[in-house]
């Protein structure tokens, strides 16, 4: 019995509930949300340390023995993701204070924010496939509200599409769980894994595997199912965009990683082969989008899709080294995408446009902003010694070792194009003649810059400290490539 595991869920939950009562009192809301967020981070750090020193932590809710009740499981991967989520939430929160505006603050922005964190942390922590659906819905419900809050035309239009896509994918999720339940007769993820290895991979299991890939692929934006993402993420304001870009798609990727390493490992040639092809096409599509647009938001949004492809390519290679690379890259991408979205938010606030052709010369007035963006851009494309490098080199190397020269080549090439796409922002937006913008004096750039600078420093440290972090990440990958560890921890056989 270990209640530490529930703290990263309970703290955001109670913070959100308390915040509802102070909806009209903005200063109090800010204080409560900072306290709640910091408490979540502290709990997440304790959890990660406990998992690292003592192994996987589990908790059976209401004392129903696994596999009968709902089990919460925190292995190294999920505890690391919970920690990263809490950190990003804190940073987006302090950025929101400066930029989200009084209107949104008074209309339940902060409570919904914490419900989103609850959903994301829950989806990372749960060890029960139906409970994962429930946490997905908590997260999605919060994301609908965050997306539509403000009620501008573009937000309403995109929310309708986003709602529809996600309702369909949730329906498919329940259908996939129903099929899986009819085959294995259990919902506990460790127990499903045991039952599946007993019966082997028959045709119906492969169908279920692909159905799960479709469901999580819609949330995680892989190739044929990414169509909703560029529109939906374009609509909300910068801190919400950063939260979505950093967290929501990553939940989808985490779920694919979890199911494709724990459940569907008996017909790797088909399921992981399919995943690999989709991952490579995802990278190509993302790169094309990132290069083609001259809108700063769109460029970064398409870079999310590239990263999804890179991480899933590592997962599909399915060796311990590749999984280590994927976990490395996953955490790197969460941090750096949040940083870039927040920086882009400042740029848009200053210039009043997101079109690259209408901006320029920002470096003269805002050198701090420009150089932070430059470092974040280099980290995104994986220039050593920054944070993207370690993950990418592991993914590419294991791709080459597995004899997949095409895939590894495309991952390598994609880094070049990613670098090109963000440098395009740097050269057109920051270099060149300084221009006059309408609301140039009003923007509190210094105080807004705090949040992305924290994240960028985090990314640099994550890159420089690769040597120190490696054992932690490889523990996470070890659990992924050896489902036995996970199963034994949950079922305690």
């Amino acid at each position: 019995m270990n209640s530490l595991i529930t703290l990263p869920l309970l703290i955001p939950f109670f913070t959100a509930i308390i915040l509802i009562f102070f909806a009209k009192n903005v200063p109090v809301q800010r204080w409560i949300s900072v306290i709640g967020s910091v408490a979540t981070i502290i709990a997440a750090i304790f959890l990660a340390v406990t998992v690292y020193t003592e192994g996987i932590q589990t908790m059976n809710l209401s004392n129903w023995e696994a596999p009968f009740g709902i089990t919460l499981v925190s292995d190294m991967l999920s505890s690391l993701l919970v920690l990263t989520t809490s950190l990003i939430a804190f940073v987006c929160l302090i950025y929101s204070f400066k930029s989200i505006g009084k209107e949104r603050e008074e209309h339940y922005y902060y409570p919904v924010f914490f419900f989103l964190i609850l959903g994301v942390n829950g989806a990372f922590t749960t060890g029960d496939i139906f409970n994962m659906f429930v946490f997905f819905e908590v997260m999605l419900m919060a994301s609908y509200v965050l997306l539509v809050l403000g009620g501008t035309k573009i937000q309403l239009r995109e929310t309708i599409k986003y709602l529809l896509v996600n309702i369909i994918s949730s329906a498919l999720f329940v259908a996939a769980i129903a099929y899986l339940y009819s085959v294995v007769g259990t919902l506990n993820m460790a127990h499903i894994s045991v039952r599946l290895s007993e019966i082997g991979q028959s045709g119906i299991i492969t169908v279920i595997a692909v159905l799960f890939l479709v469901v999580f692929g819609i949330k995680g934006a892989i190739f044929p199912l990414y169509f909703w993402l560029p529109g939906a993420y374009y609509a909300p304001p910068a801190p919400v965009m950063a939260l979505f870009g950093a967290l929501l798609t990553k939940v989808g990727i985490y779920s694919i990683t979890r199911t494709y390493t724990l459940f569907f490992t008996h017909d790797i040639g088909y399921t992981h082969g399919l995943l690999e092809i989709l991952a490579i096409i995802t990278i190509v599509i993302g790169v094309i989008g990132a290069i083609a647009y001259s809108d700063v938001k769109k460029i970064i949004i398409y870079n999310i899709i590239v990263a999804v492809g890179v991480i899933l390519f590592g997962v599909s290679t399915f060796t311990t080294e590749a999984l280590t690379g994927s976990v490395f890259y996953l955490i790197h991408d969460m941090i750096i995408k949040a940083a870039l979205f927040l920086l882009i938010g400042i740029v848009i606030k200053i210039t009043g446009t997101s079109n690259l052709k209408e901006m320029g010369g920002l470096i003269h007035r805002y050198p701090g902003l420009a150089w932070t963006f430059f470092i974040a851009a280099l980290a995104l494309s994986g220039i050593p010694p920054l944070s993207g490098f370690a993950g990418k080199i592991l993914i590419v190397r294991s791709g080459l070792e597995a004899g997949n020269y095409w895939g590894a080549g495309i991952v390598l090439l994609s880094s070049l194009f990613v670098l090109f796409s963000v440098m395009k922002i740097f050269m057109n937006g920051f270099w060149g003649e300084a221009r006059e913008y309408k609301q140039q004096e009003k923007v509190p750039v210094r105080s807004m810059l705090v949040a992305p600078v924290i994240l960028t420093i985090g990314a640099v440290l994550y890159g420089l400290g690769t040597e120190a972090i490696y054992p932690i990440i490889s523990t996470a990958a070890e659990t992924l490539s050896n489902p036995e560890i996970y199963i034994n921890a949950v079922l305690k056989e």
Partner: protein
Amino acid sequence: MEILMAFLIGIIFMSATYLMLSKSLLRIIVGTGLLSHGVHLLLLTMGGLKKGAAPLLGQHADSYTDPLPQALILTAIVISFGITALFLVVAYRTYQELGTDNMELMRGKEGNE
């Protein structure tokens, strides 16, 4: 019985898809509601229809009906109820703001250039 349910679920899915492909926003919402009903029936059928006594300790029956799918459906119904409510509100607000419930006319240029 399961075969009959399979056909029923298929028909519900078919109608839901038809409704969701139409242009009117309200029809789309009805379609999503129908889709979740279909999924709930699927969940019920997949768990196995009535196979034995009610799952109570005192029954002393040879076999019991699996209670888990019903618990899952209850959860799923509550969730889909909440989402449908939100969807209706958002649709109404969209109608007020954009002045149309036709998905074709709702397509905007902003952010899609």
